[in-house]
């Protein structure tokens, strides 16, 4: 053991942050607004009202720096929050690095990922406004599980459209959602016009996150007591996730360190934003100066290869237009195992701070990610979900760079979920069946042709 710092840096429930942090208040320039999909004018609260309760719409649009977390949300958060910050003593020893590696572990939530940080307040606010049912989509299954758990806490119904390929490959995710009382449909489904059309073309359609969003949105707008819940991308989702970074700041302060580099995996951007934005605040205030870096899959390199354009959040083009880094709303990524990172777009907030040069981005191929995850599991015990294997692989790169430089750098990352329901991906990796995908520029250019030209 290199030093006597604890393995787990804990906070008591008394030390739990009681406010979410809105990074917009501290940015040099505001992010571009969402646009109405029909008029291309900035979308107002009324445009979003069929989808979300007013409390969440206000959070989506506010410039307030801090938002109080309601008591009814804090009570449920206490089932797993504050989450532990781990010092990776044993991984450091394995890598023989002078770096100090810290990981904020979100797999302690009942659903096994960071997603309940936002599913709980989303269910809470909907319930408070009389909404009785929420619809949503899920790819890897983490978000659907999180919303099923949250709606159970408030006695609400929950209906989930699970991407067909995932629905077939991961029956246990469906069971987990059903344990919490949710109904789960394979997407595309016979329940929406859009789904029926796709199934008519191809009865074995594998589905995609964009298609599942279209179906869940269509079902929500058709029923006045039903609303829709999104697990990433939007401002209010990233707002809720800032509990991760706020806790991590308090935890690092307890052991007297500040990060030199922060790496987080990015799919829709909520895990990354949740960890990074409170640290970005401290950086902008001059209190610390970490390099902050997004890590995305080489097969879906939204930031590093996509364009910064207005595009739809879903495949059918029903959502507001969002200014974001995108590969095109019709882009369907190769079937990498990190299903939660297979999204054509990126959170407008993360896209904006990346465009402003406040954060960096890299992409990593999945075989390197799984190799890193095996090292991590043997050293630290925890088997990571496929998504945060990207963050781990990046942290290992940083630890090796610190070793080469002979510098005692402090590396912070988020282990946003465990891989207990994703072991088939490890089976595939261990059997040598995993492959990496090159994404030709032509494929991106072709997908971008369908994106409206608004800039």
């Amino acid at each position: 053991m290199a030093d006597d710092m604890p393995t787990k840096i804990l906070l008591s429930e008394d030390e739990q942050p009681t406010q979410w942090y809105n990074v917009i208040a501290d940015l040099p320039t505001p992010p571009p607004p969402p646009l109405h999909p029909g008029t291309h004018e900035p979308a107002g609260p009324d445009d979003l009202a069929p989808l979300f309760p007013m409390a969440l719409i206000e959070q989506e649009m506010t410039a307030d720096r801090y938002i109080d977390i309601p008591g009814g949300v804090l009570d449920v958060y206490k089932l797993w929050r504050p989450s532990p910050l781990f010092r990776a003593h044993r991984l450091e020893a394995l890598l023989d690095t002078p770096a100090k590696i810290f990981y904020k572990y979100e797999g302690v939530s009942p659903a096994g990922s960071h997603k309940p940080n936002t599913s709980v307040p989303q269910a809470f606010y909907n319930n408070a406004e009389g909404v009785t049912k929420l619809t949503t989509e899920t790819g890897a299954g983490q978000w659907g599980s999180a919303l099923a758990f949250a709606t159970a806490q408030y006695g609400m119904e929950c209906e989930v459209w699970q991407v067909a390929a995932s629905y077939r490959a991961k029956p246990h995710r469906k069971t987990m959602m059903e344990i919490w009382g949710a109904s789960v449909h394979s997407s595309p489904s016979e329940l929406t016009e859009f789904g029926r059309g796709l199934l008519a073309e191809n009865p074995d359609h594998p589905g995609s996150l964009g298609i599942a969003i279209s179906e869940a949105v269509a079902m929500a707008v058709a029923d006045p007591e039903t609303r829709y819940a999104l697990g990433s991308v939007l401002n209010h989702v990233l707002l809720h996730q800032t509990v991760i970074g706020e806790e991590a700041l308090l935890q690092l302060a307890k052991v007297g360190v500040t990060p030199d580099v922060l790496v987080g995996c990015t799919g829709g951007g909520s895990n990354f934003g949740g960890l990074a934005f409170p640290f970005l605040r401290e950086k902008l205030a001059g209190n610390m100066n970490p390099t902050i870096r997004c890590v995305e899959p080489a097969a879906c390199p939204t930031l590093t290869k996509g364009e910064y354009r207005y595009d739809f959040g879903d495949t059918a083009g029903m959502t507001p237009l969002l200014k974001m880094h995108t590969l095109g709303h019709g882009f369907i990524p190769e079937p990498i195992h990190a299903g939660g990172l297979r999204y054509h777009g990126m959170s407008p907030l993360v896209s904006h701070v990346y465009n402003e040069g406040l954060v960096e981005a890299i992409s990593i191929p999945q075989t390197e990610c799984f190799a890193g995850a095996i090292q991590f599991a043997r050293a630290e015990g925890i088997v990571p979900a496929p998504e945060p294997t990207h963050a781990i692989a990046a942290a290992i790169r940083e630890a090796q760079a610190a070793k080469e430089a002979g510098e005692e750098r402090v590396i912070l990352t988020a282990l946003c979920g465990h891989g207990h329901l994703d072991l088939a991906s490890y089976e595939n990796y261990l059997a040598g069946g995993l492959k990496d995908y090159d994404l030709p520029d032509e494929a991106i250019a072709a997908a971008m042709e369908a994106v409206p030209v608004l800039d």
Copy 2:
């Protein structure tokens, strides 16, 4: 929320217990010794040396009250210990009970159960004595996972015989063990004479825990650098598990309560003993007076319907003879989902304290257990493993009794693992496919006929 007690009662790593507790030191009478399977004389250290390192044999036989936990074990424990004690505020509200329900959650370990509490010291002591490989059996997969994790921490090899029915039904358990570097075989296997014989009779043999033990033992004794590791039943295993109860005592003291009733599920007895023995010490010392109750599956009612006799720990009759409550070493329980509770015998220590009237026992059918687990998951979030659903169902019975009596009783139980790798059992339950099994007295009598008469 009924009161302002925290949801999670935590201990820091500084407060982590540094000694295991040996209940033998405080019992009114000593437990009967194990006997050599050939001579029927008390087994000595030399008889156990082909199976276990001397440090564990000493722990198996010692009458010392406390054993220091080595620093090399405490360091690995810190990956998840001290584990949280939860106050089940939300389950209490759901049940509308005046009872205060506490559960000690062991699912935070990397392998997802209480089993690493003993796999880690077992690997540590073997490694310290130059053993390079451990063999073991696994039924539900929890123990094999725990040993695979532990051996990875000390750079050792690990070979696991997984009961064939479980091997086929739970491919992900095998993958989890392989992630940590273990080799996994279906049992019965072609690798042992006993296994080959059984496969010759029935190529689709479903296996059993007793058979898998026989195979793992046979492989260990055949190689001088290999030893065997057992996940339950023996004194040293229960000794290591007492960290559960020692932590729970400290945690309850923090909130100023003592339990009125303690319920724990019993398969081999290590989770129950680990939780209960430190409380039994306090009870025998007159510091508190909880009712302490074992909860076993109705389909494998070792304590409530078995006989207290000398019997073999395995099916082939290779282990020392143990004085224990047994259904007969040839007894093969019905295929209930709680694979970890499908063992013909019971820890000699738990059997002894039960025989002495120091603890009570009940059995519960599995449909009641899963119904309770669904209530628990929707209230508390965590999806329990099938084994601790028995403890939860018993805790719910106690909470209902407290409500009927109008008494504010304090109930303590152990949630010894999560169910993330056992979701197929919930799928079966939710689909109405789960059944309960009556165990006729004649079936037990028939199995007992093969047990040697030594008393």
